[in-house]
Amino acid sequence: MHVEGAQRLASVRDEPAELLRVLAGFRWRLGFERTLLFGIRGAIASALTLIGLSVAGWLSGAAMVGWPAAVPMLAALGLAVARWPSHREAAFSADRRLALEERLGTAVELAGSGRGGRFDRLQVQDAIDQARSARGGWLTEHRRLRREAALAALVVALAAASLLLLPRVPAPHVPAAVESGLPADAVAADVAERAVPPEAQDTALMNSQPAVQSQTDANLANRVQQEQSEQLALDKLSNALSSVSAGQSAANAIQQGNFTAARDELQSLGDDADQLSDAAKQQLAKALQDAAASTGQADRQLADRERQASQALSRPNYNDQRQALRGLGDQVERSGSRTVPADQLARDVGKLQQQQQAANQGSGGRGQTPGSGLPSNSGAAQAGQQAGAASGAQGGGADGQQGGPGVGSGTDPNVSGDASKLETAGQRVEVPTRLGSGPGVRPSDGTEDQVGADPSVGGRTVAELARAQQTGQVAPEQNLVPGEQRPVVRGYFR
């Protein structure tokens, strides 16, 4: 339509042709101004999009995709070009902004109509003269353009700041379930759990000891069982990782309780996933799958991560493997932060045994109450007892009917049944031991570790203790006799 109008204008001679030239200048200037205005608005929209993308990337931890931010800018510029001003538009704008008193608008109409009125040519010439004398003025509506330009500068600065600063700010943890598709309640539980720092959790656990003592045996047993299950889950993962040499360092870090290092090692393993052979990947995938299966509900999120990592390792996609192992590393750190220290776990187990022992004594019988089976006090048996405690000692202690591998014997008259021997020293001694669930079964090769590796019972502490006892490096904190009772024990044996 613009071209047609221009041709009609051009077909008339003299003044209209001159008018066309004048208007062409105004069209370019108006078009440039409009492009500038649209560009500014597009820059605002693009900057806002960029901010949104960078924040989303920061929150999700995913790599930011920047190209959608260019779409608003390109669309704005395209719109500006598509809406390039016509002669008539340019004339109206010039009339309005340069105070030409509708001269150009009238001239365009007269030139286009070709009606040949008495004053038409005079009017067109007058419009040309006036427009030329007023062309020094810039068509732009300065105030609006300045305001929008200032806004654009502000938003662009914000976008730049978000790009530069956000990567340096630690991103908030995203619940693993968001990626793994866990139910919302699991996510909420995870978030609520993470809301309390590990130190605070430990402190709270410490502070709650007196209260725990007054709780029922069942409550304490449940808690101990939960703690040991979580430890076991991490042990399972450690074992799985140690199935390949590349994962050995991560396995060691888990075993040492250094979960931050374990996360880093797993991330490093993820980065180097393309260096692993297919056989190693398959082996690790299978081990992780087994670990996930055995972990089960003890640490559902960890199991999910293990399963994801296993699936990713089974596929040839490097990015998936890298992401999955990174996610597993993050989850290991989170799960590790929830676990209680080994000595705390040992104290909990000891208290549980004391309570059960006291209950047995109160009942005057031996092995008459379910869950009262007590283990021997030997070192090896203790290891088994620790694992046995998780399953809750079943059956009567005297009959030794409890089941479960790696657990101390159900009968120990020195401890559980006949208290008179202890009384010969004039003092009653209570040595906390761990509950077992049946006769102790020692591994054929004599290592205690494999006892603790039984999937049905907890045992990281057992493994550590056994290893430490073999090497003679028993830290005082790992002595299963509570500190305040050690002098009594020593006195008794002397």
């Binding site: 509708e102 109409e109 007269l110 009125g117 004053f119």
Partner: protein, 337 residues
């Protein structure tokens, strides 16, 4: 071709220049007699060049009659004055057929023209006559013909009616019917002079008599200038603005402005749109342009519309004037529709 074009353009420029000079001379000569009242003089001039009639409203003694007389003299127009009174009859204005003896001894009716047969008629205190007499002017003002019996008698050209009315003496007056009001091109309000103007008036009218105003044009040139003014081009979007202004004054129309919906009973007639555009054309020429601008439309909108809007009872009760409504219309209606 270019030479022809340049010649045509030069001739047009000369015509425009002649029109401007004539108006400038007219206003200059009138200013020698009438102190101040420039807007009234400009309004009357525009109406004259557009071939319209003017209703002047103002207090007695403000120079309304003197203005009309001066214009008649400056333009060498035949001038007559009719003092409207309640007992004035249509025939007293238009004329009548009287029975006269013929040269052959017979008798025949002969039309005796009334005072309306003049180029410039001053209808002084027009609202004092009865509606019947006021209505006698309708045909003359619109058709420029007076029909007596079955014979129409054309009025001399140019023909202008300049009516005056007193806004404060309402007792014994008859408001002009809307049909007649609509026939007035402009309604101009003659305000009281300022202190300096009043001092100048006193000085001029109480001292030695000065030279009478000179003639600057004659009736035929006025007619020619009228035709010239009509050829001033106006862009469609500017004419559309005038149309939208008139439409906005009609409360029943969707284009009505909020002020019109609240205050107006009847809006302006189509004649108002014609008047605005014609008046704007002349205003544009007098402003040095060969095209009509939005500003020209705004300038002539008030004298065009103020007597064509009929307010409702609520607006009258609240003391709202048509001037205020027109001002609100000008604010409400955007230039670009």
């Amino acid at each position: 071709m270019t030479q022809v074009s340049a010649d045509g353009r030069a001739a047009a420029a000369q015509d425009i220049e002649r029109l401007r000079r004539t108006v400038q001379a007219l206003e200059r000569e009138v200013a020698r007699v009438i102190v101040g009242q420039e807007l009234v003089v400009r309004g009357v001039t525009i109406a004259l060049l557009a071939g319209g009639h003017v209703l002047l409203e103002g207090l007695p003694g403000l120079g309304k009659t003197l203005l009309v007389r001066t214009i008649a003299r400056v333009l060498q127009l035949h001038y007559s004055r009719v003092q409207f009174t309640p007992d004035l009859m249509p025939a007293d204005i238009l004329g009548t057929n009287i029975l006269l003896d013929t040269a052959h001894g017979g008798r025949a009716f002969e039309f005796q023209a009334g005072p309306i047969f003049a180029n410039l008629v001053l209808a002084d205190e027009i609202n004092r006559a009865t509606p019947k007499t006021q209505s006698a002017l309708l045909e003359a003002m619109q058709e420029q013909v007076v029909t007596v019996g079955t014979i129409g008698h054309p009025l001399p050209r140019p023909f202008f009616v300049l009516a005056t009315q007193n806004p404060i003496e309402l007792e014994g007056t008859y408001p002009l019917p809307e049909a007649e009001l609509d026939r007035f091109f402009f309604k101009l309000q003659v305000g009281f002079p300022s202190r300096a103007e009043l001092a100048s008036i006193v000085e001029r009218t109480t001292g030695p008599r000065g030279e009478p105003p000179a003639t600057v044009a004659e009736g035929s040139s006025v007619l020619e200038l009228q035709e010239l003014a009509r050829e001033i081009p106006i862009a469609t979007h500017v004419a559309d603005y005038a149309v939208r202004l008139v439409l906005a004054s009609h409360p029943e129309l969707p284009e009505a402005a909020e002020s019109a919906k609240r205050n107006v009973r009847y809006g302006a007639s189509p004649r108002a749109a014609q008047t605005i555009i014609l008046g704007a054309k002349i205003h544009a020429v007098l402003a040095g342009r060969v095209n009509v601008a939005f500003d020209d439309v705004r300038r002539v909108a008030l004298p065009t519309l103020r007597h064509r809007l009929i307010l409702n009872y609520e607006a009258e009760a609240r003391g709202i004037t048509t001037d205020r409504v027109v001002a609100e219309l000008l604010t409400a209606v955007p230039e670009q529709g």
